[in-house]
Subunit: 106 residues, 2 copies
C-alpha cells in the first residue's frame, strides 16, 4: 500500500457523510445495497450521494454492480483490511492492538 493511496482512502472515509454511508454498506453485507436504498437511509439529494459514492468507489473502498436499472453497492472488505493493515503497520507498537481479529459482522 502506497502512502498516496492510503491517504486518499483515509480522506474518503474522513467525511462524516461518507463514513456513515460506508458503514451502511458494511452493515448491508455481501448482499449490498442499491443506491436508492442508501439514499432512503441517508436522506440527501441523489446527486450529492452520487458524488460521495463515486469517491468511495474511486478509492477502492466500495464496489458496484449493475442489476437491471439499479446499481448495487458493496463495501470492499479486502480494501478496508489493506488500509487497516497499513495503519496497524505503523501502530501496534506498544499498547494492546488486537482490533477484533475474529469478528463476525455482515
Amino acid at each position: 500500500m502506497k502512502l498516496e493511496k492510503a491517504a486518499s482512502q483515509l480522506e474518503a472515509l474522513g467525511n462524516p457523510t461518507r463514513l456513515q454511508l460506508y458503514r451502511i454498506l458494511v452493515r448491508a453485507g455481501d448482499d449490498g445495497l442499491a443506491v436508492g436504498s442508501v439514499q432512503g437511509k441517508l436522506d440527501i439529494p441523489s446527486s450529492t450521494l452520487s458524488h460521495h459514492l463515486k469517491r468511495l468507489v474511486d478509492t477502492g473502498l466500495v464496489t458496484q454492480e449493475r442489476q437491471a436499472t439499479t446499481l448495487i453497492c458493496r463495501a470492499n472488505y479486502p480494501g478496508m483490511n489493506a488500509l487497516i493493515g497499513y495503519l496497524a503497520d505503523e501502530c501496534c507498537a506498544d499498547a494492546a492492538c488486537a482490533p477484533a481479529a475474529g469478528k463476525a459482522l455482515a
Copy 2:
C-alpha cells in the same frame, strides 16, 4: 468512538503530508521528536508544518510535551488503536482481518 470523531481523525490522516508526518512520529517511538527535527525530515515551511501538526494534535492522534524551547511530539498509540478498532468494527466481516496483532515497531 463517535462517528464525528472517527471522521475527523480519518480526515486528519487523509492528507499525504500529514500521513507522512504521522508515520515519522510513529517511527520515532516513545522518545518522540522535536518539531524542528520533523521539519528537517519533511522539508516544508515551519508554519505549514505547525498547521498540520496542530490538526493531528487537535484530533487526538498526536501529543506534545515541552522540553525547554523545543516541543516534543509523539504519536498517540491508544488513539490510533481506538480508530483502528472503530474501523475493524465495521470491517472484519469475512476476509482475513488480523491486523498484525502482535507487532513490535517503535
